[in-house]
């Protein structure tokens, strides 16, 4: 039995009763945890002498809060991303009538109970830390945002109930009742999204406060909620969660693939890795657009904040970010191309790889070109400033947008070639269809390039409009391509079946790489987002008066981020290992 995934967790006897019992246990667990947190936080606050700030020895307030907030966020992303991932695969399973998708979705949903617990524990520790170390700020936030806190707690309970039901009713709703299960899955995700949106309120308010009077009291709650950065961060995080969930699923599959002993197991986990990476990359492709929107809102909210983010001291971290994102594009294409090695008929497309690699590399080069170049005095004199007359062209946003659009298009193309690798369309209009597809890609690249070059000749206002055209061109091209592809490949002749399991082992490392890079990016970008508030708790309104108000060096900050990533993967491994142990155990009598 490959991996033992068909194990019944709810038993066969009284599924409804078992389902309720498990859900009840989950609710009880969360209630106890919250009660305990309240008692500890309250107890500590009353025992410790009153103060605006309290110092945590050794680690320091800021680093402690940072670590737990980031870990909580990563696990939060995981428990929100996994149900999205599960629902998508479940739907695909229903649509294609392939049982293995359903099993995959079920296997990941199984992780949720444990992952929720870890998330909740981390969140509770964070809450205790905030209440005891930053009593003044926490007091301010809880006082001004009381309705949202109550909503948050209600939502959490709802999410726990729904998620447990989603998991425990899985086996009982196969067949005719499947649609109700899908509905439940949708509810889990809507609920999870609501939680995310509420949590984002506090974070974004601290960045871009709105709806408050001069004394700093919130006068209009809705304005405070719907501040400049709220929606962009909501969207950005939602997409990132899907990508993250997929990437972690793929990394898990990679571990299992590399440890597999039979060809059957290898085939299964090879396929699982592919599905995970597919969802991860699909969600990753629109992320740069969402990020661009967020950046724009930040600039609009405060030029000062925008400049310190992109042009000021944080600019160097964006070079790191560019490296990570560029590498993600490399890894995604690398994985797909290696995967094509196990698809009969894919040889037909290998020759395109040269051109595609060239586009990806040039895009990467543009992304990684810093705006202000590190140069010696002699080099600076030769360049006439810190801006190289030629390379300087790559440093600006117009170039980076153009590059990322082309990289997205290329990666999309890799996917499409992968999709058709072993198929020969039989419809009469196949050659016309291919010409249309080729044309839309060519036109979209042309539009992207044209506006990319043209934006150097227009004012910044117009330039911003251009980036919208570029994105639209790419989106339309992708939509048209797929719209032609689906009917064209219907009833196509198969050259041969995909030889699942025969992918070279090094492809699996690309999957690890993607998961780790996603996580690292989340940590790094999170630091930038939070760091650009500089010495403010609430930007421009409430200053951080603790000893830790300074901006630390990049070296120090990136080390902390890296440490967090390591701890996160250790914790995730524990969750997976415990779930696997559960699964390997023979069914208890």
């Amino acid at each position: 039995m490959p991996g033992g995934i068909t194990l019944q967790a709810t038993g066969t006897g009284r599924p409804a009763f078992e389902a309720l019992k498990d859900t009840y246990k989950g609710v009880l667990k969360i209630s106890l945890l919250l009660a305990l947190t309240y008692l500890i936080a309250h107890g500590l606050s009353s025992v410790l002498p009153a103060a605006d700030y309290r110092a945590l020895p050794v680690m320091g307030n800021r680093v402690a809060v940072w670590i737990f907030a980031q870990l909580h966020l990563m696990f939060g992303a995981f428990v929100l991303g996994v149900p999205i991932f599960a629902l998508i695969t479940e739907i695909v399973g229903v649509a294609t009538r392939e049982q293995r998708y359903d099993e995959l979705a079920r296997e990941f949903t199984k992780l949720l109970a444990m992952a929720y617990t870890v998330t909740a524990v981390l969140g509770c520790v964070l809450l205790v830390l905030l209440v005891t170390l930053y009593p003044k700020l926490t007091g301010y936030l809880s006082q001004n945002f009381k309705p949202t806190w109550i909503l948050y707690v209600v939502l959490i309970f709802g999410e726990v109930v729904l998620a447990y039901l989603y998991w425990t009713t899985w086996d009982g709703t196969q067949g005719a009742r499947k649609k109700w299960h899908l509905l439940l899955g949708l509810l889990v995700n809507l609920w999870g999204t609501a939680i995310l949106f509420v949590a984002d309120i506090w974070v974004t308010f601290m960045m871009s406060p709105a709806g408050i009077d001069d004394a700093g009291n919130v006068t209009n709650l809705w304005q405070a909620v719907n501040n400049h950065t709220w929606m962009p961060i909501n969207v950005h995080r939602l997409l990132a969660n899907v990508a993250f969930g997929g990437a972690i699923a793929a990394a898990y599959a990679a571990v299992r693939f590399l440890n597999a002993r039979t060809a059957e197991e290898r085939a299964r986990f090879d396929w699982m890795g592919y599905v995970g990476s597919f969802i991860a990359i699909a969600a990753f492709l629109p992320l740069p657009f969402a990020g661009y929107w967020l950046g724009r809102e930040i600039y609009q909210f405060s030029q000062q904040m925008g400049v310190s983010m992109m042009g000021g001291s944080f600019a160097w971290l964006w070079i790191l970010q560019a490296f990570l994102i560029g590498s993600l594009f490399f890894a995604a294409n690398f994985y797909l191309w290696l995967g094509m090695g196990r698809i009969p008929g894919a040889e037909r497309y290998t020759r395109y790889q040269v051109a595609m690699m060239l586009v990806l590399t040039l895009g990467f080069v543009v992304w990684a070109t810093p705006r202000s170049i590190i140069a010696t005095g002699v080099e600076m004199a030769a360049m006439g400033g810190s801006h190289h007359p030629f390379l300087g062209l790559f440093g600006v946003m117009a170039a980076k947008n153009t590059a990322v659009n082309l990289m997205i298009l290329t990666t999309f193309l890799s996917f499409m070639l992968y999709r058709r690798a072993n198929r020969v369309p039989l419809v009469t209009w196949a050659s016309a269809g291919k010409i249309v597809q080729g044309l839309v890609i060519a036109v979209a690249s042309g539009v992207v390039l044209f506006y990319g070059v043209y934006s150097y000749y227009v004012t910044s206002m117009v330039r911003i409009g251009f980036s919208v055209y570029q994105v639209l061109a790419v989106l339309v091209a992708m939509a048209v391509f797929v719209a032609v592809d689906i009917p064209m490949l219907r009833g196509a002749r198969q050259i041969g079946a995909i030889r699942w399991g025969e992918i070279p082992a090094r492809a699996q490392y690309a999957l690890f790489f993607m998961a780790i890079t996603f996580t690292w990016l989340m940590g790094l970008m999170g630091y930038i987002r939070s760091g650009i508030r500089q010495y403010w708790h609430i930007y421009g309104r409430i200053a951080d008066e603790s000893a830790h108000a300074f901006t630390m060096t990049h070296g120090h900050a990136t080390l902390i981020v890296s440490g967090i990533v390591i701890v996160f993967f250790l914790l995730v491994s524990v969750v997976f290992a415990l779930a696997a142990r559960h699964e390997d155990r023979p069914e208890a009598a």
Binding site: V307, G384, H387
Partner: protein
């Protein structure tokens, strides 16, 4: 067959990229950027050759031959000699003394303050607009006056063509800003430029260390209006426009 030459083609490509970047681009690319580019080239080549089983086998074939002892003796000795020599060379390059001034990690565009003091008056940066533009299209006269101000004050450093190449330019590190560069005033809001001109190098914040900018504090010599006129001119004269955001003052409404 090209495929059999994969390894050599990869080496040749790497060399060709290096040569092109070194020779074809003027002024020369600074070493820091060249390092980034060559690193990317290496990664790209490796990703490409290993993304296909056949390319990969061919790529490692010469290496495998050397390390598994199948290659001619001379080739093996050469490879084994090159490895420590390359390490030694890299070490030498890192420690060899040079007459170059050290790198300067200068932040060119640090964050502006939220407000600044001009002639003793507090000016808020947020929502600050060039008052001369507000008057509508009547810009010719102020631009002409700005030009005069420019030639009386800024020209010596920022140059006749506004390209940061005035007579004194080479005497300063950092050298004066090149207003024709897409990376300077054309990507800054006018309020930012006003702050920079009014407070000069001395007004740069902590994050823009080292404080060695020669840019004078112009509010000590010019009136506020003269500064705005000069700004109008540097935009008009360099053929660029300030950065604007469609609803720039939106957040004031909240």
């Amino acid at each position: 067959m090209m495929l059999r030459l994969t390894f050599w083609l990869a080496l040749a490509l790497y060399g060709a990229v290096y040569a092109a970047l070194r020779l074809a681009i003027h002024p020369p690319i600074p070493a820091s950027v060249l390092t980034i580019y060559m690193l990317l080239t290496a990664i790209a080549i490796l990703v490409f050759v290993s993304a296909d089983e056949r390319r990969f086998t061919q790529f490692i074939a010469p290496l495998a031959a050397v390390f598994e002892g199948r290659a001619p003796r001379a080739a093996r000795i050469a490879v084994l000699a090159v490895i420590p020599l390359a390490a030694a060379w890299a070490t030498y390059v890192r420690v060899a003394p040079s007459a170059d001034a050290p790198f300067e990690l200068r932040v060119i565009h640090p964050e502006p303050p939220s407000s600044l003091s001009v002639h003793g008056r507090r000016v808020e940066i947020a929502g600050l607009q060039n008052p001369l533009r507000a008057k509508g299209s009547e810009l010719d006269k102020p631009i002409r006056e700005g030009k005069t101000i420019y030639y009386q004050n800024c020209f010596f450093c920022h140059g006749d063509a506004l390209a940061g190449d005035g007579h004194f330019a080479q005497a300063f590190r950092p050298i004066p800003a090149n207003f024709r560069d897409v990376g300077t005033i054309s990507m800054l809001q006018e309020s930012y430029v006003f702050w920079r001109v009014a407070t000069g190098g001395a007004g740069l914040p902590k994050s823009a260390t080292p404080w060695n900018s020669a840019m004078p504090v112009w509010q000590d010599f010019l009136t506020e209006e003269e500064i705005w006129k000069a700004i109008l001119y540097i935009y008009a004269g360099s053929g660029s426009t300030p950065r604007t955001w469609d609803d720039e003052v939106k957040h004031d409404k909240h």
